[in-house]
C-alpha cells in the first residue's frame, strides 16, 4: 500500500480535484518578520493534510486565515473553486475544532451540535435527526443532555468534532485539538479523527507539532518553520527524502555530522564519508550529513554490519530505554565530537550492550543525506 502511494506520480495527483487552494498568502502582524510568508499549496478533495511545525512557526495563523478570522496581508485563498477573501467566517462553509475546543459551556452536547444548523435556519425535525446521527457517529449516544463540564476530555473532543461536521462543511480545520490530551487518549483520538474523516470523506487540514501524529494520520504533510513552508510531501516521501536540514532534524531521530562537501562525499577531518547530497548542496561548502537512527547498524564485531560501506569502532556511552524501543548512544575515537544515536535492532532481547562495552558501528553510504549548512 505504501509503495503504490509512493509511486503516484505528480501527473496523476494533478488530475484529482482541488478543494482548497492557497496562493502567495502572507500574514504580517507588523512585529518583526511575517508570521506566514508567501505560502502556496493545494489540498485535494477528500484528503487529510497536516501542517507540522514547531511552536511559533505560523501554523495557527495560516489556519485562522483559511477560517476567515484573519485577513491575509497578501495572497488569495480559494475554497471549492471560489475565492473567499471577501467572505466573513460565518459565510465560509468550514468546520473548525479549536485548540481549546471552545464548546459553548451553557449548552448541552446536543445543543452545541445543533447550533450550526440552527444558525442555518434548518427546520427543527431535520436538526434533531442530524444531531442524533452525528452524536452517533462520534459514539456519544446517551450523552446528548450533558453539558461540556460534565464530559471527559475525550468526550468533549467528540462533541467538538460533531459540531464542526454536522453542517457538512466543504472543509474541516483542526487546530491541535489533541495537544492537551494524555498520550494514550491522544493516539486513540488520532485514529478516531482519521476514521470519521474517511467515513465522511471531508477534506481536512490538521495542525500539529507532533511528528508522530502527522505521519500516522495524514495523506499529505506540510512542514513549516519560521513562517515558511519547508516541504510539502506524502508522509513516506517526507521521511525518506527530507528537502533540507530542518525537515531532516524535525522528523525522526538522526545523527548529524558536520564537514565539507566533496565530489566523493562528506569530508570530516581525515575521514571521507560517502552519502547522497541534496541538489542545493554546493561542493566545497560547509555541509551537514544526517543518518537516521534505524539506518545505523551496531554489533559486537564486523559480522553484524554486512554491506556497510562505512564502519568504525566505538564505545556505548548511554542506553536510553523508551519502552517499545531502545537507543544506544555511541562515541567513536575517529569522530570524537559525534554522539551516534542508534536504534537497537533485535526484537527478541533488549540490553545486549552495557554502557562501556566496545562495539562496531556502520551504515550504508546511500543512507546518509548531505545538506547545505551555513555554519
Amino acid at each position: 500500500m505504501f509503495m503504490s502511494d509512493l509511486q503516484l506520480d505528480s501527473a496523476s495527483r494533478a488530475e484529482r480535484s482541488v478543494a482548497v487552494s492557497v496562493r502567495g498568502v502572507t500574514m504580517d502582524f507588523g512585529s518583526g518578520s511575517p508570521a506566514v510568508k508567501d505560502a502556496s499549496f493545494d489540498v485535494e478533495t477528500g484528503s487529510f493534510l497536516t501542517i507540522l511545525g514547531p511552536s511559533g512557526s505560523g501554523k495557527t495563523t495560516l489556519l485562522r486565515m483559511i477560517a476567515g478570522f484573519q485577513k491575509p496581508t497578501q495572497g488569495t485563498i480559494t475554497i471549492a473553486g471560489k475565492p473567499v477573501d471577501a467572505d466573513p467566517p460565518n459565510r465560509r462553509s468550514i468546520g473548525m475544532v479549536f485548540q481549546k475546543l471552545a464548546l459553548f459551556p451553557h449548552m448541552t452536547a446536543a445543543e452545541n451540535v445543533a447550533f450550526p444548523l440552527k444558525m442555518r435556519r434548518t427546520n427543527p425535525a431535520e436538526i434533531s435527526g442530524k444531531v442524533e446521527k452525528f452524536l452517533n457517529l462520534v459514539k456519544l449516544d446517551g450523552y446528548a443532555e450533558r453539558r461540556p463540564h460534565e464530559l471527559s476530555g475525550g468526550q468533549q473532543q467528540r462533541v467538538a468534532i460533531a459540531r464542526a461536521l454536522v453542517f457538512e462543511p466543504e472543509l474541516l480545520l483542526l487546530d491541535e485539538p489533541l495537544a492537551a490530551l494524555d498520550r494514550k487518549l491522544r493516539e486513540e483520538m488520532q485514529l478516531e479523527f482519521r476514521r470519521i474523516q474517511k467515513e465522511l470523506g471531508v477534506t481536512t487540514i490538521n495542525v500539529t507539532h507532533d511528528q508522530r501524529e502527522a505521519l500516522v494520520v495524514s495523506d499529505d504533510i506540510i512542514v513549516m518553520d519560521q513562517g515558511l513552508i519547508q516541504q510539502h510531501d506524502r508522509p513516506v516521501g517526507l521521511y525518506r527524502a527530507p528537502n533540507n536540514l530542518f525537515v531532516a532534524s524535525f522528523i525522526g531521530v538522526s545523527t548529524f555530522i558536520d564537514g565539507t562537501l566533496t565530489a566523493d562525499g562528506l569530508k570530516v577531518g581525515d575521514l571521507l564519508l560517502p552519502g547522497s547530497a541534496t541538489p542545493e548542496a554546493t561542493l566545497g561548502a560547509p555541509a551537514r550529513g544526517a543518518v537516521r537512527a534505524e539506518q545505523l547498524r551496531i554489533g559486537a564485531g564486523p559480522e553484524a554490519l554486512a554491506g556497510c560501506e562505512i564502519e568504525m569502532d566505538g564505545k556505548v556511552e548511554d542506553v536510553i530505554f523508551e519502552g517499545e524501543r531502545l537507543i544506544y548512544v555511541v562515541g567513536c575515537e575517529r569522530a570524537p565530537d559525534i554522539k551516534f544515536q542508534i536504534y537497537h535492532h533485535d526484537p527478541h532481547s533488549f540490553d545486549i550492550f552495557e554502557i562501556g562495552s566496545p562495539v562496531r558501528i556502520g551504515w550504508h553510504g546511500k543512507d546518509m543525506k548531505i545538506f547545505n549548512h551555513d555554519a
Binding site: 477560517a67 466573513p88 460565518n90 459551556p105 451553557h106 444558525m119 463540564h149 459540531r163 464542526a164 453542517f167
Partner: protein
C-alpha cells in the same frame, strides 16, 4: 501548637467577626420588636406593634412604593447600557480604553452632592422634576460603573475563541452576541442588576436633592422622620431594608449559582 488549640483560636476569631459584623443588624432587629415607646436595646418586652405601625403609615407605604419604582427604573435604564459598555470595554479593542476607564471612575471622585446638584439643574431645566422616575435615571447614571465593572469582569473571563467558534458555526454578529456572549456574561449582568436595585433603593443624597414632598423616597422619608423624633418604627423600617438586601443576595445566589454551568470545566 496543637490542632485543637488552633481550632479554638480559629473559631473564636470567626465568632468575633460574625458578631461585630452583624451587631448593628441584631441591635436594630431587637429594637424593632420592643414593646416600649422608645428605641432601646435589649428590647423592653416583645411586640410587633411597630411593624404594624409602619404597615399602617400611609406616607411610609407610598415612599416604599416610590423607592421600588426608582429601583426598577434604575435597573431598566442601567442594565442594557452597562452590559453593552462592559462587554465593549473588554471584548473589543476600543481606542481610548484607558480614558474611558478613568471617566468611569469620575462618579467616585466627584462628590455625590456635586453630581446631585448638577442633575437637579439639568432635570429642572427639562422640567421633569417632581416626577419619581428621574430619580431612578439619576441613580442609574451615578451607579453605572458598578454594572460596567461587574459585566466586564465576567466578559474578561470569557474565552475569545467561543465567539470565533460561533462565527465559524455560521452565526452573524448579532447572533454571536445573543447566543454566546450574552449568556457567558449573564452572571455579571445579574450581579450588576441586583446591585443597582439595592443601591437605588438606599440612595439618599441624590434622592434628597431630586425629590419634593410629593415624591419622597423611602430613605428620604426616614430622614424626615428622624428629624422629628426617633421611635422604634425606624428600627422596623431598617429591618425592612435589611430584608430587601437579603432577598437580593439570596436571588443572586440562586441565579448566579448558574455560573457553574457557564464556566467550562
Amino acid at each position: 501548637m496543637t490542632s485543637s488549640s488552633q481550632k479554638l483560636i480559629f473559631w473564636t476569631l470567626v465568632g468575633i467577626s460574625i458578631i461585630t459584623l452583624s451587631m448593628p443588624t441584631i441591635i436594630v432587629l431587637g429594637a424593632s420588636v420592643t414593646s416600649g415607646n422608645i428605641i432601646a436595646f435589649p428590647p423592653d418586652g416583645f411586640s410587633l406593634k411597630w411593624y404594624e405601625k409602619i404597615a399602617m403609615a400611609r406616607e411610609l407605604r407610598l415612599a416604599l412604593w416610590r423607592s421600588l419604582i426608582v429601583s426598577t427604573v434604575c435597573v431598566i435604564v442601567s442594565l442594557p447600557v452597562g452590559t453593552v459598555a462592559g462587554i465593549a470595554l473588554t471584548r473589543y479593542r476600543l481606542k481610548f480604553v484607558n480614558l474611558i476607564n478613568i471617566y468611569l471612575l469620575l462618579p467616585f471622585t466627584v462628590p455625590l452632592i456635586g453630581s446631585g446638584i448638577g442633575m437637579m439643574l439639568v432635570f429642572g431645566e427639562w422640567g421633569i422634576l417632581g416626577n419619581v422616575w428621574p430619580v431612578g435615571v439619576a441613580c442609574a447614571v451615578i451607579n453605572l460603573p458598578f454594572v460596567i465593572w461587574s459585566v466586564s469582569s465576567s466578559a474578561a473571563a470569557l474565552d475569545r475563541d467561543l465567539e470565533l467558534a460561533a462565527e465559524n458555526c455560521g452565526a452573524g454578529r448579532m447572533e454571536t452576541f445573543w447566543y454566546v456572549t450574552l449568556p457567558a456574561v449573564m452572571p455579571g449582568v445579574i450581579t450588576g442588576g441586583l446591585l443597582m436595585f439595592v443601591l437605588a433603593m438606599t440612595e439618599f443624597l441624590v434622592s434628597l436633592l431630586l425629590t419634593d414632598a410629593r415624591t419622597v423616597t423611602l430613605p428620604v422619608q426616614i430622614y424626615n422622620n428622624i428629624r422629628s423624633i426617633i421611635t422604634p418604627d425606624l428600627a422596623a423600617i431598617s429591618v425592612v431594608f435589611v430584608v430587601i438586601a437579603l432577598i437580593a443576595v439570596w436571588l443572586l445566589d440562586r441565579l448566579v449559582g448558574l455560573e457553574i454551568f457557564l464556566k467550562s470545566k
